[in-house]
Each structure stands twice: as C-alpha cells, then as structure tokens.
Symmetry: C2
Subunit: 418 residues, 2 copies
C-alpha cells in the first residue's frame, strides 16, 4: 500500500490539476442520503391518483376510529414478507423508525416482558452498534441515554465473537441494532450462522435485537441472499422475546407516506398493544387500503420492486465502474458491491475521510459527513465514506463519483507528504 | 327531589312494564362513543376518491422524506384555527391524542423547557383532571404514572378556585387537562375569566396545560361561544411555556386518517422538534395535501363543518326532546344542551348510574360505562351518564334515548324502595 501511496504522491500535481478543473465546473451535486429518486416515486403515483372505490373491509369502515394493529390484509402482507404469522404483526404509521423509537422509549419508561422494570432504572444502560451502521439508529439510542458500544461488521453481519463476549459479560447491555439484509451502509447480509448465534447466545432476559429489515425486498439482482428466520431460531433457542422485527414500504412506495410494521413474539406484541391502546387511536387505515390496492399481495410488491431495481442498478454499476477505473489499480481503496439496499461503503486510507468530504464539498459534491455511520459520528480510523447513489440522475451520479475518486486520490497524496 | 322520587316509586310497576316491553324488542343499539356517522364521513370522501394532481409544493416533493413540522399551508390552516402564528404549529400524524401522549412521555423522559429535569424523577407526580372529562386523557396520565387529581367543571370550564389552590400549594402537580370548547362530555366552554386565571395563576415553571381544542370548529348552532386566546394571555402573564395546544381534523374529515397538530411557544416548539428529529422521518405530507385539497382554507373547512352540523344537530335536539318529555317533569335528572361538540352529559340520582347502564345493556342499548368520564373510571357519586348521539341513525338515537329514560326512571324508583 505504501508503494502505491508514494506513486500517488509523485503525481500530486496532476491530481491537483484534475481536482481544480472539477472545481471550476461549479457543480452542485448531492449523494448524501438514501432517498428514492423522483422516477422511483413515480412508480407508486397510484397512491395519489387512483380512487379508493370501497372504504369497507368486511364490516370495518376504514374511515372511522379503531383497529389498533392494522387491517388484516396489511398484517398478512408484512407477515409474508417477514415469514411470520399475521398475529405477530402490528401495523403502524408512516415510519418504522418511529416504531423503533417508540419501542425503545417504552422499554425505558415501562420495561419489557421478562425484564426487571424500566430500563430507565439502569443508569449505565448500553446498546451494541455494528459499525459502520445507520446514523439514525445510533441517534435513537444515544438520545434515550444509552452508551453506544461499537462492534465490527463484515460480509456475514455483526462480528459475533465480539457480540457474544460483550453480551455474556454485561447485563446492562440492553440490546443491539441490526440491519440483517443489505446493511446500511456495507450492504452485507447476516449469514445463517450469525443468525443462529444471535438467537442462541447468552444474554439478559430483557436483551432486545432491533432487527430493522428495511431492505427485505430491495434486491439489485436476481439471486438475492436468503435470510434465515431469526424468530424461528429464537423460539427454538427458548428466546422468543429476544427479537423485535421492523419493516416498511418507505422505499417501496413513497417514503413520507408509506406503511410501517413491527413484528414480534406474542408476549412482545401484547405488551406493545397495551401501550399503543393508550398512545394511539389506531393507524391510518385508508393509507393501508391504498397500499393494498397498489400491490395486491407480496407477489405484486415484488414485481413492483423489480421496477425499482431497473432504475437504480445502473447507478450502482456506474459507481463501481468509475471507482474501479479511477482507484482500482492504486490499491488505496476498497468498496462494497451490494446485491441490494441503498448504499455503497468505501474505505480509503486511514485519516483521510474527513478531508475527502471537505474536498468534495469545495468542488460542489455533497457527501454524507465522514463518521456519520459510527456511534457519536466518529469514525475511529477516519476512513469510511458512505455513497448513496439512488437519488441523483445517472449522469449526476457519474459526475459525483468522478469527483469523489479524484478527492480520494488527492487526500491520499496529501497524506503522504504531510 | 324526594317528593318526585316517592311519586316515581309508586309507579314502579308501570315503569317496570314499560322497561320489559323494550326488553322484548331485542334491540341492539350503541350510543357509547363519540364517533362521526357514516353520512358525516361521506362528506369527506374526496380524501379517497379525488386524485391529487400535483405532489409538488413549491420545490418540495411531498412523496419523499423530510419536512419535520408539516407543509406550510397545513401549518397555516391550524394556526388560523387556533389564532396563532404558523411558527407555533407542528403538524403531526393522524392523531392529536398521540401528540398529547408523546408530549407527556417526552416530559417524563427528558423534562420540559424551564423545568428541573425529567418528570420521571418526581415520584409523586400528579395531574389535574376536570371531571367529568375525557377518559382517554385521564388514561394517558394514569399510564405515565401520574396521580389523577379531580376538580369540578361547570359552564365556565374547570373550577378555578380548586385549580388555583391545588397548583399554588404543590409543585409536584405537573399539569392539567382541559378541553376548552364544548368539553367532553359536559359541552361547556372556558370563559375569558377562566382562561385569564389559568394563564396568570401561580404554578411551577414546568406546569403544562394540555389544551385539547378538539372541538374548535364543531358548532351546533350559529352563535358559537368565543374562546379567548390562552396563548396571548399566557404570554402577557410571562407564562408563554405554560400551554400546549392540540387540534385535529379527526371529526372534521375522517377520524382514522385525519391530520393532527400541536401548537406552543417557540421554546416548546423547539424542544418538541429536537425530539421529533430523532423519533420521526416527518409526518405524512400526501395526506396533508389531500386535506388542503378538500378544504382549501379555514373558510372552506368552516363551510364543511356546517354540513356536519346539519347532520348531527337533529340528533342532539331529539335526545333533548325525549329527555324533556320522559324526565323533565320528574325533577330527578338534569342534562346539558351543548352548543357544539359530541356529547350530552346526563346527571341522575346519586348511586343509580351503574344500575342504569346495566339496565340499558339488558335491554339492548349500550351506554358508555358509568364512571368512564372520571379518574380511574370511578364516579364518586355514581350519577353521571355520557350520551354520544352522533354515530347511530336518527331513529336509533330516538329509540336508545327512550330506553335510557325508562332505565333512569326504573333505577330511581328502585333506589327508593331498596
């Protein structure tokens, strides 16, 4: 690696010139957030334009109050997606993130089934954060007063040696985050071995895995990895209460107006409902009807997702192609080639990620803040860059990636000479 | 009163016969909950059937993520309804009750501006409940660990002598509930004097009035009472942080799919947003668009509410007429004649309310549980019956009220002879 770094350093003048040329172009590009593009949103415009002909579902008037856990057909759709029974599912509002926050806020205020009272009573409560991971997850647990404990993540999911050791030794660790499929940002999915170990490991009775299956149906190619059923493994291990699963249509229909769900064991579902009966008048059933009319069933939803893949796969391919061309031979960077999800995770030389984000910003390309995918926003090696290629148009993704690659080269060259 | 009671007792046989005749009819009627009728919901069916032509508001794509506090036009609509600035408003999801729960849950977990830390730290925390009042309000504070302190309510709102005395003496009283207009179930509205006293009374810095203006626009006749602006009075008194106002379109458009709002001082709004930025991805903006398309502006919403009044006023009138005919001369009952809202509150002889609810149930008429409008579901005098006439058809309202009146007579007659 240092050979290639010194080679780069020798070319610093040319790299600087390339960078300066980009700077002169007055670009204004943004590859920061995992948002669907307008063309992707167009796929679900029937939510806005197709009349809902019947507001009755059986004898339920979907317009009125009532129905704490969602319409039966909507529960069924999420149950099939998560390979669970409809009884395991509570349909919520427009955001699975809110259901995650509320689940943890309830655990802090009231405790959970099998626990010893409110988590608020555990002053030094902690939560495990596989990193790099999703900043909004980490922020929820930070906000609710948990100390964030990082563990590594690789192509099989969270590093289970680290997780098992931590959890067995400390029952003030109340849970962990996990995006089991096409993890944000690494794109990795949990192997069956990882899932078995999560289900079977020794942990406190009130330990909870926040299983955010945000990308359950978000494949980029035709051979998606199979995800083992964590609930089945938890039940088999006598730990049925350990996992809280979440899913939503946010990146399937419309992010601001999707439908979210929580799925869990009967005891966890009953516990959540006992609080929801106080907190809510029930979720928006008309929006559930609109979604059922849009998808029909899980097969319809899967056909819909193929259209998303057609729109975004070229963007992922292009980023990979440009990074290969510009960085491939230099041996200073590695990046993921995800089979689904919304992100590419790029690792560059230690200590240069912040510099790259600043350089790109000066050249008119907004990148996710360096460190964002780490607890407290701090990447200990300052080397990870998250690329979110879905939102911009294809030509903008290309342009932004070209700029990013030159910034990586320049920051690497600078790091040798500094 | 005892004269009329003994007269009733002498007619017990005839009353019993009337009751038995009703019983034989095999009725199945329900006047328990304050729900709009299907005909009222039909008024807003455009939410389901009218296509939303443009999803852009300025350069905001309402389909995507973002927009923590709602669309500017929706904030404006609620601001005008509450006579506040749009900056005071946070638009939420489909339920103002959820916004109330969340506001109090946040206060318990984190505290409020001007307070001394999380309310959870105050073990003997208390909340004032004007009674009879709304059971779902009382349930929220009971669930969050508050002791419920009842105060009386009359035609001018909560009994301010009681409120002032309680609040001045005890800073573990963290707040109070108040439905300022057409209160559930008494139908009373706060007078300007009540509102001034609420704004000016001596209370802890973190005392909060939960001002649930659920029936702000729900008039039954053309001369609605004017509600003084509590926020202005609070600001004038140097207590801007004291009031959290809530409103929604639940009983204006569709209860399950309405739009809710919280309005408060800049400090309270900033505080709420700092937590919502962690808890949510923003409210459903498409549903806000649908509502803006349905109403246009506050004048449009007010025209819409006149159509509601046309549908439900005959039901309120009919209940009053039947109660007058059947109970008016007996001097054993008094009831409210609200100028708006959803309820009639009926007071009958002490110790007979539960018996009336049971008798009506046996005759096929479901009434709200006796005691429901009181803290812990216990009416200390067992004398209050809440009548919710909006949902059933007019002929069912009539039939149910006839049965109710006979049950009141019978329970009163029984109470003399027991």
């Amino acid at each position: 690696m240092s050979d290639s770094l010194s080679a780069l350093a020798n070319q610093r003048t040319q790299i600087q010139e390339k960078y300066n040329n980009f700077k002169k172009m007055g670009l204004n590009l943004d590859i920061t957030r995992g948002k669907p593009s307008p063309l992707q949103l167009d796929l679900a415009n029937n939510l806005l334009t197709r009349p809902v002909e019947s507001y009755l579902v059986g004898n339920v008037d979907t317009r009125n109050y009532g129905g704490l856990d969602g319409l039966p057909e909507m529960k069924k759709l999420f149950a099939e997606m998560l390979e669970l029974d409809a009884d395991n599912v509570i349909v919520g509002g427009n955001s699975s993130l809110t259901m995650m926050y509320d689940s943890l806020a309830r655990a802090c205020q009231f405790g959970v089934p099998g626990g010893n009272g409110p988590w608020n009573q555990v002053e030094s409560r902690k939560f495990i954060c596989p990193t790099p991971g999703y900043d909004r997850h980490f922020l929820i647990t930070e906000h609710l007063g948990f100390e964030l404990i990082p563990v590594d993540i690789d192509e099989n999911g969270p590093n289970m040696d680290q997780v098992e050791t931590l959890v067995a030794a400390d029952d003030t660790i109340k849970g962990m985050w996990c995006v089991p499929k096409y993890s944000n940002p690494t794109g990795s999915s949990c192997s069956e071995d990882t899932i078995k170990r999560l289900a079977n490991m020794k942990a406190a009775a009130d330990f909870r895995i926040m299983w955010d299956n945000a990308y359950a149906e978000h494949h980029l190619d035709d051979s998606p990895p199979l995800l083992a059923n964590i609930m089945e493994h938890c039940i088999a291990a006598g730990n049925a209460e350990r996992v809280l699963e979440f899913a939503s249509t946010s990146k399937i229909s419309h992010p601001g107006s999707g439908v979210a769900a929580l799925a869990a064991s009967p005891a966890n579902v009953a516990d959540a409902k006992s609080h929801l009966a106080v907190q809510t008048i029930g979720p928006d059933k008309e929006n559930q009807l609109r979604h059922l009319n849009l998808f029909g069933d899980l097969n319809g939803l899967r056909s819909h997702m193929k259209k998303h893949a057609e729109l975004i796969k070229p963007k992922f391919d292009l980023v990979d192609e440009i990074l290969n061309r510009e960085l491939g031979s230099l041996q200073i960077a590695s990046w993921t080639k995800p089979k689904g999800g919304y992100f590419i995770s790029l690792d560059i030389p230690d200590g240069t990620a912040k510099r790259v984000v600043d350089l790109a910003d000066e050249a008119g390309v907004k990148l996710t803040n360096a460190g964002a995918p780490f607890p407290y926003g701090k990447d200990p090696r300052d080397r990870n860059i998250r690329i979110a290629p879905t939102f911009p148009a294809l030509e903008d993704v290309a342009q932004a990636t070209e700029v990013l690659a030159v910034c990586v080269q320049l920051a690497a060259a600078e790091s040798v000479q500094n």
